[in-house]
Amino acid sequence: MPIVNEGLKREFEWVTRPGEQKHISEALDLADEVMQEIAYALIVGQHLEVDRLTKHCLDNGYTANHILDNGLLNGMAIVGVKFRDNVIFVPEVLVAARAMKAGMAHIEPILSASGIEPIGTVIMGTVKGDLHDIGKNLCIMMLRGAGWTVHDLGVDTSPEEFADAVMEHEAQLIGMSALLTTTMPNMGRTIAYFEDIGLRDEVRFMVGGAPVTQEFADEMGADGYGENAVECVETATTLLDLIKELAA
């Protein structure tokens, strides 16, 4: 059906490349009014609305496939175009990603029940003393997009908080981020804390952040290093494979 949602209509105007226009417009043809509402709410980052609409649709007979494709992903595709074309920036993308997560919270149990399990579980946090979170948030967005379950501990995360989260969520992987040279050593301290409490062998650590290098990661005893959000997913996958190999 044509785009009837006024907000979405305006958002779609940002899609100007002919190939993309065709691709997204064909996808939107399959989106009825409520799917268009979901797509629009996601684009503008209304996570509560995405949450409500997704639940409402599932309760009323829409398939998870339909909602995922025609509501959530159509919205996210437009977010991607707007970001690439510098209409919106990282903060707006992260707000949209939060809305995506709100919708996926209802879809994921259905995926799991059908055998599409999360790839793994990761605990993510910026280390103690550090309030910089945007790199970590981009990593979380990427990990979730790639099918991981992520528990975000936010910023200024103490070693004890990392340990508590590992035990609570039975995670085997921790991602630590630091932006400051002054807080980078807290990554090593966190790893040391896990050694002290006898949990070091239970988890693998991956680290990242602007001043962090592979050498520094090796020095502090981390198991993996990612230079950016894309590498973060690759590192997480490699470490999980390693965990599985060791378990087998």
Binding site: D69, L73, A97, I116, G135
Partner: protein, 121 residues
């Protein structure tokens, strides 16, 4: 944002259904909201869902790659309205008279050294 995956999963039915009906547009019984009438999990086209997840991963990958480039010249905490979203202090933050407003970012895009303005204590 071409990623080669289109919508595959649409089993044509008109999904505008009254919440009370418990019947899809095609006339088949659907799971009710509280699951009391039908304990079966909602149906899912697994193969289509896998492709959708792949499409999602591709969208996020494109976004992350562009973020890598854009943050070289524009502070990632600066939003589209030039407001600062950082939870920490920065010399480029300009606070308005309204204390609940987010500060304005006064840095020009293209400043390669915006990080030096971030307060680190």
């Amino acid at each position: 944002m071409q990623n080669g995956h289109n919508n595959h999963a649409i089993h044509a039915h008109n999904p505008i259904i009254p919440a009370e009906s418990g019947v899809s547009a095609g006339g088949t019984t659907i799971q009710s909201g509280d699951g009391s009438e039908d304990d079966e999990p909602p149906k899912l086209d697994v193969e289509a869902a896998r492709k959708s997840m792949e499409r999602m991963a591709n969208i996020f990958k494109d976004i992350a790659q562009h973020a890598e480039v854009s943050t070289l010249t524009r502070c990632p905490y600066k939003d589209a309205k030039s407001r600062c979203t950082a939870k920490f202090g920065c010399r480029n933050q300009h606070f308005t008279k309204n204390p609940i407003d987010q500060p304005i970012c006064t840095a020009k895009d293209g400043d390669l050294d915006y990080r030096s303005a971030w307060e680190i204590d």
